[in-house]
């Protein structure tokens, strides 16, 4: 434990003089309770029945009577442990929350060094030391303390006490609210809490090691009757961040991964130079079948892209049936596409549809030498199915243009290249976790 917790260089609160240990009887349940910081504690929550007692006066007064079963804390009240070389005793326990996001705080006490806060947020521990000198506000949302710079990470939020047990140096009660904000520095946070009467600053440093064992406590568990632990509050988000990393850091890692993926996709997607062949096809005439290129695929499997282009026609389509035929095995891979373009005029005015270019991509084509064979046939579009006249356009349709002549078609075959769709999916998968983390952080700051 001592290896994990190092002495902080920040000044702590002025040490009080050693207090006396005093025992009182709970007016509610009759239990005998020790006041461990007598003279400093003003409120004591009975560890047996949960009633709140006023222990500031010699005659202990019942503030709130609460009938509940005795609770057992992970760090029992009165337990002693050593943190950062300092022997501390557990005085009190609070569960606090912001908008339902809860964390736990133990009030610790050393007769010579004063109070400390032990904060547990999502299972991570950190130690809070109350500051006796105010941090200095800098420009923007930064403060400096002991020569170190802290940046505000949360908007001010209302923190509420949900559960309380043990003794405290102020009259704490369930429902008590303060305005809390956290300033993040390197390796430590500053927590600022305000109410109508005062402002308290606490320096919070993460703790490693088995804190529960250091106090002779039990694993795991929470206080019976207390709300279930929930994600971080702003008093210390270091715990959550210590485990998951902050959203900006995750986005940075994601950006690096994206860059790496981009480079790898380009490096791995190389292929053979493209081959282009041109031929003519007659509208509503016989189809033409010809070999338009040869593709050699040296890798185990590769992408093949077939692009066909034509122009100077309207309201026609050209069927393009491609076959990749492996020379040695004669295995064939068939895929089809079409070039189509339509235009006309209707009540809304002029319209066009389709494209003079068509691209088909064939995934994972096995290694081999392939002939690219295409069967092309051109057709005029007719609403009623009959072949329209080449000279008189159909009502509402443009003339078929130069369709009386053969149409020039250009086919380009190429191997390699990356699928852009793959890249977008990868991007989504990479940035999903930091996105979720960011939403979580934003929700926590509300």
């Amino acid at each position: 434990m001592a290896d994990d917790v190092t002495e902080t260089s920040f000044p702590g609160p002025a040490p009080p003089s050693a207090p006396a240990l005093k025992a009182v009887t709970c007016p509610s349940c009759g239990g005998s309770i020790a006041i461990r910081a007598a003279g400093y504690s003003v409120t004591l929550v009975c560890q047996y029945c949960g009633s709140t007692l006023d222990v500031a006066n010699p005659d202990v007064r019942l503030i709130t009577q609460l009938s509940q079963a005795a609770s057992h804390l992970d760090l029992p009240l009165g337990a002693h442990g050593v943190l950062q070389g300092l022997e501390l005793e557990v005085l009190g326990y609070m569960r606090r929350s912001i908008a339902g996001d809860a964390w736990e705080e133990y009030l610790l006490f050393n007769p010579y060094e004063g109070f400390r806060w032990l904060v547990r947020d999502e299972g991570d521990w950190s130690l809070g030391v109350m500051l006796t000198t105010l941090p200095k506000h800098e420009a923007g949302s930064e403060v400096t303390y002991a020569g170190r710079r802290f940046r505000r990470q949360d908007a001010p939020s209302e923190a509420r006490v949900d559960y309380v047990l043990g003794e405290f140096y102020w009259r704490v009660q369930v429902g008590e609210k303060v305005t809390a904000e956290t300033y993040e520095g390197h390796g430590a946070d500053l927590s600022c809490e305000r109410n109508a009467d005062e402002t308290n600053w606490t320096l919070i440093t993460p703790l490693g090691g088995d804190v529960v064992a250091a106090f002779g406590g039990r694993h795991p568990g929470a206080v019976a009757g207390a709300p279930t632990a929930a994600p971080s509050g702003p008093v210390s988000t270091s715990g959550a961040k210590a485990r998951f990393g902050s959203a900006p850091h995750l986005f940075l890692v994601g950006g690096a991964a994206t860059l790496l993926l981009f480079v790898l996709m380009i490096a791995f997607s190389g292929g053979a130079p493209a081959q282009t062949m041109r031929f003519n096809v007659t509208p509503d005439g016989a189809s033409r079948t010809l070999t338009v290129g040869k593709i050699t695929l040296p890798r185990a499997s590769q992408r093949v892209t077939l692009t066909s282009r034509s122009s100077q026609f309207e309201n026609m389509w050209i069927d393009m049936d491609y076959s990749l035929i492996e020379r040695r095995t004669q295995k064939r891979l068939d895929v089809s596409g079409s070039i189509e373009h339509y235009s006309g005029v209707d009540s809304d005015g002029r319209w066009t549809e389709g494209s003079y270019e068509n691209r088909v991509t064939v995934a994972s084509v096995p290694k081999g030498v392939y002939d690219v064979v295409v069967e092309a046939s051109a057709h005029r579009w007719s609403e009623n199915g009959s072949s329209p006249s080449t000279s008189t356009p159909q009502a509402g349709w443009d003339a078929t243009g130069a369709a009386t002549n053969d149409l020039a078609v250009e086919v380009t075959s190429a191997s390699g290249g990356a699928f852009l769709g793959n890249f977008w999916v990868a991007l989504l998968l990479i940035f999903l976790p930091p996105g979720v983390r960011l939403l979580y952080e934003m929700r926590s700051r509300k």
Partner: protein
């Protein structure tokens, strides 16, 4: 190092490796044809009318 950060690094490594390998082998569900491609039903003619 944080557990979550390590897990995220592993996740990024898997995604980058997986998609780099897919790119190398030319695999994609976005292809028109071939292994793993999502085939669409062919349709000819204008959608306008």
């Amino acid at each position: 190092m944080q557990t979550g950060a390590i897990l995220y690094l592993v996740w990024c490594g898997l995604v980058v490796t997986g998609f780099a390998v897919a790119s190398s082998s030319g695999s994609s569900p976005f292809a028109t044809a071939g292994r793993g491609a999502m085939h669409s039903v062919g349709f000819y003619g204008p959608m306008h009318k």
